[in-house]
C-alpha cells in the first residue's frame, strides 16, 4: 500500500476517487473548499469519471445529489457550518427518502459571532435528519471512513445517507502520512452500486417523496428508525471486513483506549481524542486508572455498547464540543441518556469545551478527569465550561 502525506481534506478527495463516485455537486465554504477543489482536479484530469455539477448554493448541491442518487448514481457533496444550515431542508429530504448519499462535513462553529474555527454544533444541529453520523480522529481514518461510509450507506439493510465529520483545520488542514489502499482493494470492498427498490426508472415511471397521509406517515418513520438500528450492526460488520482487507480496524461504533481496567472514562468525539489519550497516559503515570471512550458514530447512537463499557467505571467525564443553549450540551445529554437505563451506571460530569476553535490541550483533559473524580466525592458542579475566561463572572 502506498504511503503518502495527505491533509484531511485531500484524504476525503482521495476517498471519493477510490469509491468511484459518479456525481459530485458542491458549493465552496471554508474550511471545506479544498475537498471539492481537489475533486474538480481529478475530474478535469480524467482521474475520476464523474459528473461535477457547479451549483449556486448548498441547498442546490444537496438537491442535485438527491436527484442523482434517486436515479441510481453514487453521489458526494461536502460543506461546513452555515453552508450545512442552508442545506438543512434538503438534508432531511435525503434522509427521509432513504438515499445513500455521502457528505463530508468539515466541522466549523456557527455564527454569530462569525467563526471559521472548529466545533461540532453544525453537524449536531442535523442529528435528527435521518443521516448516519460518523466522526474521524486522524487523516488515515478520514480516508478509510469515506470508503466505509459508502459501503454502509448502500447496504440493503440500511439505505441511509452518511455524514463523515472531520474537525475544521485540526483535521481538514492537518497533514499526516497515510496508507492509501489500492484501487483493486477498494473495488473488491465496494462493488458498483446496486439499484435500490425505489430508483427512478423511465420504463417504470413514478414520482417520489409524495404525500403520506396520517395513515402511513408513522410507519415510514418507523422504517427509518429500524434502518438506523440495523446500521449499528452493519457498521461493526463493515469495520471487521475492512480490517481483514487492510489490517486497519477502528472498533466500529466505539474506539476504546485503555478502558479494560479503567475506573474513570473520558468520552470524546473527533480529532482531540489524540490529546485525550495523551492525558490518560499521564493520569495513569499518576496512578489514576483512566481510559478514553471515543464515539466514532453518534447516529445511530451507540447506547448499548457505551452502557456496557461504562458500567464497570465509577465516573465518566464527557468533554463536548457542542452547546445546546438551555440544556446544556448535546453529547452530554445523549451519553447520560444512554447510561440511565442501565442497572450499574457511573457518575457523569460534563464539560463544554473548544467552542469556536478554543484550544484544548492534554492538560485540560487531565484536569477534566480530576475534576470529575473530585465532584463525585464532594458533590461539586455537574457541568463545567473548560477554560472559560473569568469563570462564571463572564456574565
Amino acid at each position: 500500500m502506498p504511503r503518502v502525506v495527505l491533509s484531511g481534506n485531500e484524504a476525503v478527495a482521495v476517498g471519493v476517487k477510490l469509491s468511484r463516485v459518479n456525481v459530485v455537486a458542491a458549493y465552496p465554504i471554508t474550511p471545506q473548499t479544498t475537498i471539492v477543489e481537489k475533486i474538480a482536479d481529478y475530474v478535469e484530469q480524467g482521474e475520476l469519471k464523474a459528473r461535477f455539477i457547479n451549483v449556486e448554493s448548498e441547498h442546490s448541491a444537496m438537491a442535485a445529489c438527491i436527484g442523482a442518487a434517486a436515479g441510481g448514481a453514487r453521489c458526494f457533496t461536502a460543506t461546513s457550518s452555515q453552508g450545512l444550515l442552508y442545506m438543512g431542508e434538503m438534508v432531511y429530504w435525503a434522509g427521509g427518502a432513504r438515499l445513500p448519499i455521502v457528505m463530508a462535513v468539515v466541522n466549523r462553529a456557527l455564527a454569530p459571532p462569525w467563526s471559521i474555527w472548529c466545533d461540532h454544533n453544525d453537524a449536531l444541529s442535523l442529528r435528527d435528519a435521518g443521516w448516519i453520523q460518523m466522526w474521524a480522529e486522524s487523516v488515515q481514518e478520514v480516508l478509510d471512513m469515506m470508503v466505509l461510509a459508502y459501503k454502509v450507506a448502500e447496504n440493503e439493510r440500511v439505505l441511509l445517507p452518511v455524514m463523515v465529520n472531520l474537525d475544521g483545520f485540526l483535521l481538514s488542514h492537518a497533514y499526516e502520512p497515510v496508507e492509501v489502499p489500492t484501487q483493486e482493494t477498494v473495488d473488491l470492498f465496494l462493488p458498483e452500486k446496486r439499484p435500490a427498490p425505489y430508483w427512478i426508472d423511465v420504463v417504470d415511471p413514478k414520482s417520489y417523496g409524495t404525500i403520506a397521509s396520517p395513515d402511513t406517515y408513522m410507519e415510514f418513520r418507523f422504517k427509518l428508525q429500524a434502518a438506523m438500528d440495523e446500521a449499528a450492526r452493519v457498521i461493526e460488520e463493515v469495520d471487521a471486513e475492512w480490517s481483514r482487507m487492510t489490517g486497519r480496524s477502528y472498533g466500529g461504533l466505539l474506539e476504546l483506549y485503555k478502558c479494560e481496567d479503567a475506573e474513570v472514562g473520558l468520552v470524546v468525539v473527533g480529532s482531540w481524542a489524540g490529546d485525550a489519550k495523551e492525558a490518560i497516559d499521564r493520569l495513569r503515570e499518576k496512578g489514576v486508572r483512566a481510559g478514553v471512550i471515543r464515539l466514532r458514530v453518534t447516529r445511530p447512537f451507540p447506547s448499548r455498547s457505551l452502557a456496557s463499557v461504562a458500567e464497570s467505571m465509577d465516573a465518566v467525564a464527557v468533554v463536548d464540543r457542542s452547546l445546546s443553549p438551555g440544556l446544556p450540551s448535546v453529547l452530554l445529554s445523549e451519553v447520560r441518556n444512554a447510561l440511565y437505563d442501565n442497572g450499574k451506571k457511573p457518575y457523569v460530569k460534563g464539560f463544554i469545551a473548544g467552542l469556536g476553535g478554543r484550544d484544548v490541550t492534554p492538560l485540560d483533559f487531565e484536569a477534566a478527569v480530576e475534576s470529575t473524580l473530585k465532584a463525585k466525592e464532594d458533590g461539586g458542579s455537574r457541568v463545567e465550561w473548560l477554560g472559560l475566561k473569568g469563570g462564571r463572572d463572564v456574565c
Binding site: 427521509g96 427518502a97 432513504r98 439505505l159 435500490a196 427498490p197 425505489y198 415511471p205 413514478k206 414520482s207 417520489y208 417523496g209 409524495t210 404525500i211 403520506a212 402511513t216 410507519e219 415510514f220 418507523f222 422504517k223
Partner: protein, 87 residues
C-alpha cells in the same frame, strides 16, 4: 407495514384522487365549428382533462375537468366557453 416501500412513492394512475370533476363550478364547452385543432387546450390543461382523439380533435373529460378555465383562456380561436354548472 412490510408492503410499504422505503419512502413515499406514487405511481401514475388515472383518477387516484377520485373524480376531481365534482369540484367544478363552471364547465368548458367546445364549439367545434370554431375549433381549428391546434391542440393548445390539450397542452395547457393541467389535469389533463382535454382528450386528444386520433384525428387531433379534442374533447373534455368531465370526470376530471376541474373547471379552471385555462383552456378557454388559451384557445386562440375562442372556441371554448365556460358555462355555469347548475345542480
Amino acid at each position: 407495514m412490510s408492503n410499504l416501500p422505503l419512502t413515499a412513492i406514487a405511481y401514475p394512475a388515472k383518477g387516484s384522487a377520485g373524480r376531481t370533476g365534482l369540484w367544478r363550478t363552471e364547465r368548458p364547452v367546445i364549439n367545434y365549428e370554431r375549433c381549428v385543432k391546434c391542440l393548445i387546450c390539450w397542452l395547457y390543461c393541467p389535469e389533463p382533462a382535454v382528450v386528444r382523439r386520433g384525428d387531433d380533435s379534442v374533447e373534455i373529460d368531465y370526470d376530471y375537468c376541474k373547471g379552471c378555465g385555462i383552456c378557454a383562456n388559451e384557445c386562440p380561436a375562442k372556441a371554448i366557453t365556460m358555462v355555469e354548472e347548475v345542480s
